[in-house]
């Protein structure tokens, strides 16, 4: 099979529970495919080099940089983005807490931050402040000083434990 740099490949992605079948240039990152092919523009970018955290999505439950992941490499993986957090018409507890503590100011880091927070709470429903800081340390925010984000994660964790 001759594979040239311009050949597109058919890739099956499961994004937020929806199945997508997309013809993708191998050099396209998951970030590009999410924003440009799947029209899921909730995932942002701020450096495209793995340095800022904005493009964080969950790949099989783990937060990773969509800017450093080829879409062809995650064929068959389960991908979750900010658009998949709310269920039905209901905000996710993290999203609700985000509003209450003021964890979004300009909002540009929010999507990636939420995905890192979601992955943390799935693994650790009762994180300490130190654990929250460490889990989110790959996500930069220039507005909030992080305090409201930490408070939002704590608030959501309490509510999610209560609901469980």
């Amino acid at each position: 099979m001759a594979v040239t740099p311009t050949s597109k490949q058919l890739v099956a992605l499961n994004i937020n529970g929806d199945d997508y079948e997309l013809a993708i240039t191998p050099s396209h990152t998951l970030l590009e495919v999410l924003r440009e092919d799947a029209h899921l523009t909730g995932t942002k970018h701020g450096c495209e080099q793995g340095e800022c955290g904005l493009c964080t999505v969950l790949i099989d439950g783990r937060p990773q940089f969509s800017c450093l992941t080829l879409a062809v490499e995650v064929h068959g993986s389960e991908i979750r983005t900010v658009e998949g957090l709310a269920s039905g018409g209901e905000l996710h507890p993290l999203q609700r807490a985000w509003g209450e503590t003021g964890a979004s100011q300009c909002g540009y880091c929010t999507s990636g931050m939420l995905m890192s927070a979601q992955a943390l709470l799935e693994r650790n429903p009762s994180p300490s402040r130190t654990e929250i800081r460490e889990a989110l340390a790959g996500n930069l925010c220039r507005c909030t000083g992080y305090q409201a984000i930490i408070e939002a994660v704590e608030l959501a964790a309490v509510r999610m434990r209560g609901a469980a």
Binding site: R35, H39, L40, T41, G42, T43, K44, H45, G46, C47, E48, Q49, E51, C52, L54, T81, V82, E83, L85, A86, L91, L94, Q95, R96, W98, G99, E100, T101, G102, A103, S104, Q105, C106, G107, Y108, C109, T110, S111, L114, I132, R133, E134, L136, A137, G138, N139, L140, C141, R142, C143, T144, G145, Y146, Q147, A148, I149, I150
Partner: protein
């Protein structure tokens, strides 16, 4: 943790002073908010800019023929296509969208292309052939003073402006008898400081989308992540030679601004022109590297401060001298110079004051306004200087400040009208909360506390271009179902202006913020607001909103009064109802009230506006500094400083801010903590470093914005002084809280290890160097040792203001 000194709702507001989630919070948390780069239009092309590889060069020729003929390329522009100069300030019209004749910094846009996709656009850039003749670069303030180096601004050279080499602006002002003030002093002090340049680093890379509707209507629409849609609108009209009524600018929600999106930019103008040329929508999104070149950030400033003091700690005179490295263009620089001298006087009663400032051009990305615009640098210098004096006089640093505080409702020596002022209360709160008296000078070696104060504007008193028109207007429309829509050109850059506006309108009309719709930041749809800069939006757009809402309430009350037979004075709007204060059962709900009003007072449309009172001081340069009110902040920082590595870890920050009145407490506290964050970044990490005049660190990795792990706990205290002119008494919070934190860090390092780093950022190597000096028995200090020679000329002499009793006129 946040503490409010008194319940904000005590004065009877229902939603002002509350903690509702911002109206844009959930759209942001679900990914629904559409930022500029999220816009996709049919047939849209991708634009890219070619940037200068040289710091300083003549532009000899540009050949775009190969790029233009590349398949997929639809348009190419060079400087000749956009020959009209512009600049944010009328006195600094020195920019071209694309360089003409010469390039002034590495990264300056030289050509632009629009192509079917980013890869094609990128390829086209590589096919543009530019011939340059390199000139010697001017890389520093010292270079700028060197008569053997070529001039950067050829235009100014032609005008024969005789203020000095590379000088972009200078100001020399003297208030009162300064030599007399120094003569009265028992001791005089002098210190030099340097504040390195740094940048905003908004998480959103600048983006703009342009669409052109062809002639005969010929209308341009530009979406952009801009803080100043109005000034952008004016610039587009000028540079594109289009009637303003044929241009619509829509400011999209800004993913972080901090002042960095307050100038008109090349990519915005090129997007517009390329859309006109190609007949297709064009989008530009800067790369992170390009954002570093767009810059307009914190000026590097070299400073000398001299003061005279009585033995008892009373200040008798101050002389402040600054030199600003402006980068390659004017930008806001003519104002920035004066800001380095304007607000020292707002916190302290300075009997005589001299200011000398000069801004030079260098071949570096242009500097401009970053959070605090021109005031964090002198505040750093002044507050560190006072800390040293306190040691010398044997007075506690807090007591030294308290001894010299400005009085509320008084004029500063440079004619700034200070009204509400909670600085004393702010100081007392952080003094107490931090346990200052038990800690300062008493903590174990390696741990220290530092203190400083600051003050900032609630909006620049004058618009950027001279005019007597209002600075902000708000319209309100009520529909027949009771729906309320607010229209304002104010742009939310994350500071919460959208929520501020709907909260104010909701308060006046007795509704909830979430009941109010908002149309914002669209030059076709919304009335003027000058933009999100100088911390002006709450004060100015907020006051316009109060007026518009009160006028709407008057209309509705008049109709309800007629309908129910209740005198207007007894009507109250609250909780979605309008009712008789004396008999709350008599009333009607809001939709019913609107129904009655629609019959009697149609159309249910009102408007309000705000213009600052006449505030400018009676002297040239007196337009920079005046504001209808000032916020005040005091802060204590406690930190650990590792004497082996010089690494500083901030443990806790106590900060009290005079907000006047919090419109939304969560938003206000968020601005305080965010300001602390940005200040700590500037104090310890962030700097633009250059190597041979090229930016060394144009990436997020190397710029080093603090992460979760560097951010300490912050205890925020809000002091409410109920400003007589602010909307519901409110003042600013977006910028002021940054100011005291940087010097408080420096002062805490001195308390911890006994050395002075008179230079920002205080990177660990500087601490170690100062400790090594200390060990050698030298002055335990790192910082500038001299200022370059420069003749600031004869000062403009200004008499002290007449202290008529402002308190009687204005105090509540």
């Amino acid at each position: 943790m946040a503490v409010t000194t008194e319940p904000t709702q005590a004065q009877g507001t229902a939603v002002v002073g509350g903690t509702d989630p911002k109206i844009d919070a959930h759209a942001k948390a679900t990914g629904q908010t559409v930022y500029a780069d999220d816009i996709h239009l049919p047939r849209m092309l991708v634009g890219r800019l070619l940037r200068s590889p040289h710091r300083h060069a003549k532009l000899l020729s540009i050949d775009v023929s190969r790029a233009a003929s590349l398949p997929g390329v639809h348009g190419v522009l060079t400087g000749e296509d956009l020959p009209i100069r512009y600049g944010i300030m009328p006195v600094a019209q020195d920019e071209h969208a694309l360089a003409l004749e010469k390039v002034r910094y590495h990264g300056e846009p030289v050509a632009a292309v629009a192509a079917i996709d980013e890869e094609t656009a990128e390829e086209a850039l590589r096919l543009i052939e530019v011939k340059y003749e390199e000139l010697a670069p001017i890389s520093s303030i010292a270079d700028a003073m060197n008569p053997n180096l070529p001039l950067i601004d050829v235009e100014r050279d032609r005008d024969g402006n005789g203020v000095g080499r590379q000088v972009n602006r200078k100001g020399t002002l003297e208030f009162g008898d300064v030599p007399g003030g120094f003569a009265r002093a028992d001791r005089t002090y002098e210190d030099l400081f340097f504040f390195e340049g740094n940048t905003h680093l908004p998480m959103e890379e600048h983006a703009a989308v342009a669409q052109w509707e062809p002639e005969p209507r010929g209308r341009l629409t530009l979406w952009s992540s801009t803080q100043v849609p109005h000034y952008l609108h004016r610039t587009l009209a000028r540079v594109l030679e289009l009637q303003p009524n044929r241009i619509r600018v829509i400011a999209t929600p800004v993913g972080g601004g901090f002042g960095g999106k307050s100038d008109p930019f090349a990519h915005e103008i090129c997007a517009a022109r390329l859309a006109m040329v190609t007949g297709r929508p064009v989008k530009f999104t800067l790369t992170r590297e390009e954002v570093f070149y767009a810059h307009r950030g914190r000026h590097p400033v070299l400073m000398r401060v001299r003061t005279g003091f009585k033995e008892d700690g009373t200040l008798t005179a101050m002389a402040f001298r600054t030199m600003l490295d402006g980068g390659a263009f004017g930008s806001y620089g003519p104002a920035s110079v004066y800001y380095t001298g304007a607000l020292q006087t707002v916190t302290y009663d300075i009997p005589t004051y001299k200011f000398e400032g000069v801004r030079v051009l260098t071949n570096k990305p242009p500097c401009g306004p970053k959070r605090g615009h021109g005031t964090p640098q002198p505040r750093f210098a002044l507050e560190c200087h006072l800390d040293k004096i306190a040691v010398d006089l044997g007075i506690d640093p807090i007591d030294l400040r308290l001894r010299n505080l400005i009085e509320p409702y008084s004029y500063s020596i440079n004619h700034l009208r200070v009204t509400s002022c909670g600085l004393r209360e702010c100081i007392e709160i952080v003094d107490e909360a931090s346990g200052w008296r038990a800690k300062h000078g008493k903590l174990p070696y390696g741990r220290g506390v530092g203190f400083a104060v600051g003050s900032y504007l609630c909006g620049a008193g004058l618009p950027i271009y001279f005019n007597d028109m209002s600075q902000s207007e708000v319209q309100i429309k009520v529909d027949r179902g009771g729906g309320v829509t607010v229209y304002s050109m104010a742009i939310d850059i994350g500071q919460g202006s959208d929520h501020m506006l709907v909260t104010i309108v909701a308060e006046v009309l007795g509704l909830r913020p979430r009941d109010i719709a908002l149309v914002a930041a669209d030059t076709d749809l919304t009335p003027i607001d000058l933009g999100s800069y100088s911390s002006r939006v709450t004060f100015m757009a907020g006051n316009a909103a109060v007026q518009a809402a009160q006028r709407m309430r008057d209309k509705v009350f008049a109709a309800v009064s007629a309908d129910l037979g209740v005198p207007v004075e007894r009507l109250v709007a609250r909780d979605g109802r309008i009712f008789d204060r004396d008999d709350p059962d008599i009333g009607m709900d809001w939709p019913a009230a609107v129904g009655v009003a629609s019959v009697l007072h149609a159309p249910l449309v009102t408007a309000g506006s705000y213009k600052t009172p006449k505030l400018a001081g009676p002297y040239k340069g007196g337009g920079v500094g005046p504001s209808p009110a000032y916020s005040f902040t005091a802060s204590v920082v406690e930190l650990d400083c590792d004497p082996d590595t010089g690494v500083v870890e901030v443990d806790r920050v106590w900060i009290a801010h005079d907000i006047g009145k919090a419109i939304n407490r969560v938003s206000v506290e968020g601005q305080v903590v965010g300001s602390v964050y940005m200040a700590l970044g500037e104090a310890l990490f962030e700097e633009q470093t250059f190597r041979r005049g090229y930016l060394k660190n144009p990436s997020i990795l190397e710029y080093r914005s603090p992460t979760f792990l560097e951010m300490p706990e912050v205890e925020t205290f809000l002091v409410e002084t109920d400003d007589p002119e602010g909307p519901f008494g409110a003042k600013e919070v977006g910028q002021g809280p940054l100011l005291p934190v940087i010097p408080a860090v420096a002062n805490a390092i001195y308390d911890a290890v006994g050395v002075r780093v008179d230079e920002v950022p205080i990177s660990p190597d500087k601490v170690v160097k100062a400790l090594q000096e200390q060990a050698k028995g030298n002055e335990p200090r790192v910082g500038p040792k001299a200022m370059p020679e420069y003749d600031y000329g004869e000062p403009v002499r200004v008499d002290p203001p007449d202290q008529l009793s402002l308190r009687e006129v204005l105090a509540p």
